[in-house]
Amino acid sequence: MPGLKRVSPLFIRTVAYLMVLCLIAGVFTWFAPQFMTAGNLATILRHLAADGFAALGLTFVIVVARYEVSFPGVVCFVAMAMGFLISGGLSLPLAFIGGVLICAGVGAINGIAVSYLKLNDMVSTIAVGSLAGGGAFLFNGGQSFFKNFVSCGLLRLNDAKFAGINISVYLLIGVYFVAWLILHRSRFGRVFYATGENPTSATYSGINVRAVTFWAYLICSVLMALVALMLMAETGMANVHIGSGCMMAAYTGVFLGAALFGGAGVPATFAGTLLIAVILNGFNLLSVPYYWSDAVLGVVLVLGIVAFHKDGVNRLKNVFKAKKKAQDRAVEISDSDNNLRLERVK
């Protein structure tokens, strides 16, 4: 029987990942000894929050086998919206709720466009992102908000600590835990994965594939409110370009994690995002200019995919190799008498 004789593949991967993490940390410490200080490690974790939430949101969309590129624009938009509300005197919790509602609205637009109107996911999210990014300027003519940021307690999210670790880290872990419960321990998670891996069979199992895809986009957008919140807490203001750095970090986190662990998922995304954060922090300590960070992420992403894709884990193939699926179907023996193949769903 397959699998019984070997050690669990997940265990092997986790060990391998930890080894890679330690190796990279070791290399950085060698070149920049301040890497291993408590202060720096806390910084890594603190920065992790914003990218971590973005990657988490993206994970849901990737799991249903779709793409989302509107979120940087959405982060800008909702940050400006929340900044507007806070500067207008609203309390932090209320402003945040407002932000969540706005994100839900945008997520709904994405979800409707992709799921119900059946528009191409890449293109429609580019469009929505463009709309949102431009819309961010409408709140204050392009100028930043910072009034009341201190008094409403926003900065405490970034600064306050509990047991030496930032509040934002606890928040991150808390939200990730809830997401893990949903995606990996509940029936809803199974519905998401089933939709992404085989929407036809999911439909035949009674799953409303369109609704599920819609919810994936909604959840993704709602998490962007958290991203905006973290970024505002970190910089102390809301500016119109605040979200533009999210894209690469989020995608790299999700796909690197998927490459490392054989499929997209909450723990995988956490691992990927953590690795990215460590790498970026290290490069920062080594005084590598900011504009190289995307290049680093890009290279890491490609290396990660290439290094791990030949692995036998098929979930990985589903995530990455869109065309290979078509080739595989030609090679496999199809033992069903199906003559409607020319109308196959891509």
Partner: protein
């Protein structure tokens, strides 16, 4: 005929721990049509795929016309003169027939910057069809052609490359009617006359006698025997035994007696009246009762596929009524159907029935996640595992390992997983579409037994294009022909009557044609 064009010696192939081919020796004579017969998983497809370069052999030697060759890729195979036609040939739907025939062979050296000269291609296609007469309109787009026409096109396409000496056909007739098979066979004979040797894989023993010169039986990765058709004619019974390796018992379980059907009718679970869906089928009516199996026989294209989808909520009917357990049934989607108590075992189980990348347990519970989860939606892992093990035992899943990916099981076992998935939903009506497509004889009787067992506690509808299957299983049978219900649901329908109804419509029509 006479000289050996192909020698395969000592071929071995394993997939993981499964040995697909065990020391196979195989010869093909020049200009012969050689059939490979055997049940699913016996190795015939694997051998052919090694020859055509899709798989690489683990050990052994391949010689073509005496010369040893190494075939590592499909390209190599073509260069050696081997052309392979897949079971479901891939054609480009929006291109015409002649464009598809010459796809990739528009010029002798097709660089990317050569001109596409459609008139020249059309002329070449005409030439080709003179040599190999097929009655297809080559100007029509492939998406508008029937299955057999596409099959023939695919064969012609495979011939346009270099000097093809060997042609392999992988189960080309599984979706063809008997009439259509004849067009295929006459093309094969034309090819044979031109000196092309053909290897031809099939499940069906009858075809062996119609068209093959010799045939080879495979079982369990081994070559059992090779003989000519004359030798085979004398021993039809033992042929099946050689394929199965044991005496053929009764494949179909006992049916309900007609008297019992009349006197003790089960509760009517589903009543359908005047059901129609567009052009696919019109005015279909029947009853499905607990305790009996309703069979619906219809060829591919007769409307049974669409009917099954309407019954399951995938498609919405144009007209007609459905009454389920006394209540009117309006299905917006399969979810509603499942909640009401209807389960469909679909025709294409790999695409519609299972999530192949996931383990058995995931698939088993997918249609009834409510049962599988407790408070807050959390999946009750241990409970579902126990239930899953129980169901796996009922359907005799082999190997009964719930953690294995569904895609790693054979066709028959995959079907069992789908049935178990249905059992998990505790449905009142089970609808089977082509229940044994791609399932070998060994597993077939198990599936039939399961269907019969199911019918004792629920209503069962079996839709199939296999007349024997419907006739063997159903207590009551009806037939569809081109969307019309040509035979009302009747008990104890003679096989011939059922066959004629399905392949020729009404008997009156038959009389008129003559």
């Amino acid at each position: 005929m006479g000289e050996t064009i192909l020698n395969m010696i000592g071929i071995e192939k394993s997939f993981g721990s499964v040995k697909a081919l065990d020391n196979i020796d195989f010869n093909l004579e020049q200009g012969e049509i050689h059939a490979l017969v055997g049940t699913n998983g016996a190795g015939k497809s694997t051998l052919v795929k090694i020859l055509s370069g899709v798989y690489t052999k683990d050990a052994g030697e391949v010689r073509i016309a005496g010369e040893p060759v190494e075939i590592a890729t499909p390209r190599d195979a073509v260069n050696c003169g081997v052309a392979a036609v897949q079971q479901h040939p891939e054609l480009v739907p929006n291109l015409t027939g002649y464009e598809n025939i010459f796809l990739g062979r528009e010029h002798y050296n097709p660089g990317l910057f050569r001109k596409v000269n459609r008139r020249a291609l059309r002329a070449r296609a005409d030439e080709l069809s003179k040599q190999f007469p097929i009655s297809i309109d080559l100007d029509r787009k492939v998406s508008r052609l029937s299955v057999v026409e596409r099959e023939l096109l695919a064969i012609l396409h495979s011939l346009t490359r270099q000097d093809i000496r060997i042609l392999t056909l992988d189960e080309p007739t599984s979706t063809l009617t008997e009439k259509e098979q004849e067009s295929l066979f006459s093309l094969m004979r034309a090819l044979k006359n031109r000196g092309i040797s053909i290897i031809y894989i099939t499940h069906r023993l009858e075809e062996v006698f119609t068209v093959a010169d010799r045939f080879t039986i495979f079982r369990g990765g081994r070559r059992i025997t090779t003989m000519s058709s004359e030798q085979a004619v004398q021993s039809t019974k033992s042929l099946a035994e050689m394929m199965l390796g044991k005496a053929l018992g009764d494949v179909y379980p006992a049916k309900k007696e007609a008297a019992a059907l009349e006197n003790e009718p089960g509760e009517t679970v589903l009543k359908v009246e005047g059901l129609s869906f567009g052009e696919s089928f019109k005015e279909v009516s029947f009853k499905a009762c607990k305790g009996e199996i309703l069979g619906i026989y219809g060829l591919v294209g007769s409307g049974i596929s669409e009917l099954s989808k309407v019954l399951f909520g995938v498609l919405r009917p144009g007209e007609g009524t459905m009454v389920f357990k006394g209540e009117k049934l309006v299905l917006k989607n399969p979810g509603k159907a499942l909640r009401r108590g209807i389960f469909l075992i679909p025709r294409d189980r790999r695409v519609e029935g299972l999530t192949l990348e996931r383990d058995v347990l995931f698939n088993l519970t997918l249609a009834n996640l409510k049962k599988a989860s407790g408070l807050g939606g959390f999946v009750k892992v241990r409970k579902t595992w126990q239930e899953g093990a129980r169901l796996a035992e009922i359907v005799t899943l082999e190997p009964p390992n719930l953690a294995t990916k569904a895609g790693n099981f054979s066709g028959g076992n995959q079907q069992k997983i789908v049935i178990a998935k249905g059992l998990y939903t505790e449905a009142d009506l089970y609808i089977f579409v082509e229940p044994t497509a791609g399932v070998d004889i060994g597993a077939r009787s198990t599936v039939y037994a399961l269907i019969r067992e199911l019918s004792k506690t629920s209503a069962v509808i079996v839709m199939s294009s296999d007349c024997d299957e419907v006739h063997g299983l159903a207590d009551r049978a009806t037939a569809l022909y081109k969307g019309k219900q040509v035979l009302a649901p009747t008990a104890e329908v003679p096989r011939d009557q059922l066959l004629v109804a399905g392949i020729m419509g009404n008997e009156e029509r038959k009389r008129c044609q003559v």
